[in-house]
């Protein structure tokens, strides 16, 4: 039964990882660049939500709703101020610049909020769950995270498939120059993609903060997990991202069930195995994206 519980917990954790990964995957798909500050932007979101909830005295969930548009604007600023210039000189520049930003963000947060870990209080939700049998429990917060991940990925899928901006994003992702020729403003598309990606990073950071304690230094780890999810799930597949999150989550919790020390190693091992035996990812398609 402990094993079943480990798998259940892994699926819940996977919902959170899918949230982390979805923005990274979107930005890579559209701009062909890996945003190395993704994890630290998520931490920024977590701190914004925590600070807002604490100082104004509102529910963390309401605070999330207020912070998301702010994170969207951060994304637009990131695109306009940094990426648009860096992308013109090549992918390498954007990697170096976002790596620099990651270091700046992490240390600014460290200066403001200190290295202490803190948590986001969501009342009884953080501890209560549905008890199934003697050893399996389904935490409500975990269920909520999975539901939000499903809604977010479904919403993104709809946005990309059905709306005008979605079509523009897909066209730019496929071939930015040709999309320009038919009148798509790639600057606007990139700004939208960055806004969505950074807002979802903030959302993921907030859910992480509700689940466990967080500190300014956790960004890099979250970036790594998000990246592993993208590779495991396969690039260009939003549902692959969800499945990748679940696979990584289950690998970590089942690894922890074997021995608590193996939790993270097991996740990395699954990532390396996918890289070795199925480099296009479990659900990846070779040359198209959702």
């Amino acid at each position: 039964m402990n094993w079943i519980n480990a798998i259940v917990q892994g699926v819940m954790l996977g919902g959170l990882y899918a949230l982390f990964a979805c923005g990274l995957s979107l930005m890579f798909g559209v701009m062909r660049t890996v945003n190395l500050s993704h994890g630290d932007l998520a931490v920024l979101g977590a701190f914004l939500v925590a600070t807002l909830a604490a100082t104004v005295g509102i529910s963390p969930f309401f605070a999330v709703l207020l912070v998301l548009p702010v994170m969207g604007l951060v994304g637009v600023a990131l695109q306009r101020g940094l990426l648009s210039k860096a992308l013109r000189t090549g992918e390498m520049s954007s990697m170096l610049a976002t790596f620099g930003l990651a270091i700046v963000l992490q240390n600014v947060l460290l200066e403001i909020f200190s290295a202490d870990s803190r948590s986001l209080d969501v009342g009884s939700l953080s501890t209560s769950g549905l008890q199934l049998g003697s050893s399996v429990s389904v935490p409500y917060l975990g269920v909520l995270t999975v539901v939000v991940a499903l809604a977010l990925l479904g919403g993104l899928q709809l946005l990309l498939a059905r709306t005008g901006i979605g079509r523009a994003i897909r066209a730019t992702a496929a071939d930015a120059d040709t999309a320009e020729l038919v009148g798509i403003d790639s600057r606007r598309v990139y700004a939208w993609a960055a806004a969505i990606a950074v807002a979802t990073a903030g959302l993921a950071g907030a859910f992480f903060a509700m689940r466990s304690s967080f500190s300014p230094s956790m960004g890099p780890t979250q970036l790594l997990f998000a990246f592993e999810v993208v590779v495991i799930g396969g690039l260009g597949s939003l549902w692959g991202t969800l499945a990748g999150g679940m696979v990584l989550g289950v690998a970590q919790t089942v690894g922890a069930q074997v021995d608590p020390r193996f939790s993270i190693v097991a996740g990395h091992a699954v990532f390396l195995a996918v890289l070795a035996f199925r480099p296009q990812g479990l659900f990846g398609m070779r040359r198209s994206r959702a």
Binding site: V34, L82, S93, L101, V104, V108, L110, F227, R261, P279
Partner: protein, 339 residues
């Protein structure tokens, strides 16, 4: 690059050395020889600092060979730095003398780099960068979970603490100087060879390079293995210099931040740039020390962003382009009689 353009006169000749580069290369060789007497002149504190500088020069040169020539941006070279340091423990436990162990551990890390490249080369661009980071974390966790290596709290190199500190410091210094010279020479020879031109072609356009017959993957792999050996040597030297390592610091991603900073400051894709970047970084670190803490890192990060956006050729790259300078000739020059 080697073929003259159709409009150039038939008498155009191709040179590699210039009077400036002859003088500069000679001066550098003389400087390296002169540095060998430093332990007789300076205090052990100074040689310890210089050892740190040599380590920085090595990792900057390695990162530059990867990113600036093979187009492989990695944020996971700390994985090899850590392997180099911990490889020393593995060898010392089997009775190898610590200084030999530093060299052997570096070669062992190069051997580990071969299978690693099989996995990592399935990723390209930014994905390769961060995939290397995941691999470095994997190495770190393997070390942390190995009790004989001291686990998460680290381990001391007791074999060396028995010797007289001044003698030991001098020996570590000479080893660092020798390894730095050999590794810089290796990069220089590699870049000057036919492979150097291939690598630049790969960096600029891998598909195009492949189409004119460059063996892209094997050329990249060679640089990847060399960079692993160099970074591991740097890790082993760091251990010999400080006598103690902890997995979280020797496998820390801050090494990548340092490498990127030094190369971006000095000039990506030039031979001289990373050396200059390493000296600048060393001086900055010496002035601010550890007291700067997070503000110091904020400054480094902001400077890296600024240099990337507004001075992409770095300090040396910008000067070299303006003056047409090359102190250590790794490229080719076409000379036309009319000019």
């Amino acid at each position: 690059m080697t073929t003259a353009s159709p409009v150039a006169p038939a008498t155009a000749t191709i040179h590699r050395w210039t009077p400036v580069s002859r003088t500069a290369s000679g001066a550098l060789a003389a400087l390296l020889l002169a540095l060998a007497i430093a332990p007789f002149v300076f205090t052990p504190e100074v040689t310890a600092k210089l050892t740190t500088l040599f380590v920085l020069v090595v990792i900057a040169a390695m990162w530059n060979a990867l990113a600036g020539y093979a187009g492989l941006v990695s944020v996971g070279q700390q994985g090899f730095i850590g392997l180099g340091a911990y490889g020393v423990f593995l060898l010392v436990d089997r009775g190898v003398s610590p200084f030999v162990a530093v060299v052997l551990a570096a070669l062992l890390a190069g051997a580990v780099a071969v299978p690693t490249s099989l996995l990592a080369f399935r990723l390209t661009g930014g994905q390769f960068a961060i995939g290397m980071w995941a691999i470095a974390e994997f190495f770190r966790l393997v070390v942390v979970n190995t009790p004989s290596l001291g686990g998460g709290s680290g381990r001391s190199l007791t074999d060396l603490s028995a010797t007289d500190p001044a003698v030991r410091q001098a020996q570590v210094y000479w080893l660092a100087l020798a390894l730095m010279s050999v590794l810089l020479l290796a990069v220089f020879v590699l870049l000057r060879s036919r492979l150097g031109a291939s690598l630049e072609a790969i960096r600029d356009d891998p598909v195009g390079a492949a189409s004119v017959g460059v063996r892209v993957t094997s050329a990249k792999r060679l640089v990847f293995v060399l960079a692993a050996v160099g970074c591991a040597a740097a890790g082993g030297l760091t251990l010999a210099n400080t006598l103690r390592v902890q997995p979280d610091s020797i496998f820390g991603v801050h090494w990548s931040a340092y490498m990127i900073f030094m190369v971006v400051i000095g000039g990506l894709g030039t031979f001289e740039g990373p050396i200059i970047g390493a000296i600048v970084f060393f001086l900055v670190q010496d002035w601010f020390g550890d007291s700067g803490g997070s503000w110091y890192l904020i400054g480094l990060g902001a400077l890296a962003i600024g240099m990337t956006l507004w001075m992409p050729h770095g300090l040396w790259g910008t000067v070299a382009r303006r003056r047409d300078l090359e102190l250590l000739p790794v490229g080719y020059r076409v000379k036309t009689p009319a000019a």
